[in-house]
């Protein structure tokens, strides 16, 4: 059976992609001539509590726990993670 479909090369490329993204982000897109296009005073809609994806963190953790026990998919939830510990 094939043990690794995710080769070390794929992982290395992923990490390099992340590094590149980080460097672009950290140096600021302004260095490429792009300015932030949504000003702080234009963000009141986005700051509305109803827009919070993780509005109820302990409920989100429960949903993630329920699904992790019944589905094989895992990771990239965007909420920290830490493993299921269930069998």
């Amino acid at each position: 059976m094939k043990t690794f479909t995710l080769s070390p090369r794929t992982i290395a490329l992923t990490l390099k992609g992340i590094a590149l993204l980080s460097i672009i982000g950290l140096s600021g897109c302004s260095s490429m001539g792009i300015e932030p296009w949504v000003k702080p005073y234009e963000r009141q809609n986005l700051a509305d509590p109803i827009m919070r994806m993780n509005r109820h963190p302990s409920a989100s953790m429960h949903i993630a726990h329920v699904l992790e026990g019944r589905e094989s998919s895992r990771g990239a939830e965007g909420t920290g993670g830490g493993g299921c510990g269930c069998n």
Binding site: K2, P40, I50, P57, H62, G82
Partner: protein
Amino acid sequence: MVVTNWLNNSIKLLAALSIGISSLTAQAAVLDPDRADMLYHSYEGGGMTIDGPSVMLRKKASESVAITAYYYMDSISSASVDVVSTASPYTEKRHEGQVGVEYLYDKTLMSLNLRQSNEDDYLAQSFSINVSQDTFGDLTNLNLGLSYGDNEIKRNGDDIFEEQSEQYRIRAGINQILTRNLTASFNVEAIADSGYLNNPYRTVRYLDSSIPSGVGYQAEVYPETRNSFAAKLSASYFLPYRAALFFHYRHFNDSWEITASDVEVGYRHPIGDSIELELKVRYYQQTQAEFYSDLFPYRDAQNYMARDKELSDFSDITYGLGITYQLPASVSFGDTRSEASLQWDYIDFQYNNFRDPTADGGIGNEPFYGFSANVIRAFVSVYF
């Protein structure tokens, strides 16, 4: 080997990011407000009942440091289809505790989280480190994280049995404000497991003409490594009449040749000043693990064998409904603000190559299994 490479690369990445962050001068961000959540959860379906409480507390120690504590309990009573066919129903409890600390420096948020989960036959301990950074006029947030977990696996009724497994995780994400009403995020995570990854109680079934039932059972055998990769795209949109629309898509694949994807759409709608209504629909599907079979042709048919329905080819659909009610000041403690919420999810699972061994039809010709579950969360959140 792969794990060591990951670790080396990850450390380099975190170091590079730290240098980048320290070279920035920015206006300070703020930590999330203090809150406490008390929750009751319940899951019922497929012969399993799981319920229990959970408590979460978050408190700022200063403007730049916040502490979180979390306790969660599962009280499990199981007579699921795989248990009924080969073993006895059981009950058990799982206790989980987490403590975390967050430190904010300018626009950089660093967090450390420790976690322990305890069952009679399973002890899991892990830690996570996360760093996130607001940048580009706070239009962009970048985050990176690492986790390590160590598990000790035992088997009830067998004092000699003791196995171990460990898990490394590395993740990264970007959140981007796209317009004054739209934000999107993209997250990736790679997970590497090694060690004993089986369930010590589960068995596979195989054809055996030498016994009257015609079917024999033997222990599952899983590979000792598993590497997976997941990528998730999310978006939130503010609708002109003050409501929010959410979208998620995640793609997953692993070295066991499971490919999965899930898509979710959610909608949050305030009614008056004190009620919020939530609706969601989520669809999930996966392919089977390469070494999965519902019925093996003979004993020891392969090096690796599984008949765990979570490794089979299946899909599920979730319909969710939630309501949050902001409690009037008269029933809140002191100057605090409180909310009460109730959420109900209905999940329907349909398996495409896992048969119900308790049904009629003859070995290997039983109908495919399916079940539905009701998941309820009732909780109170206090902001102080």
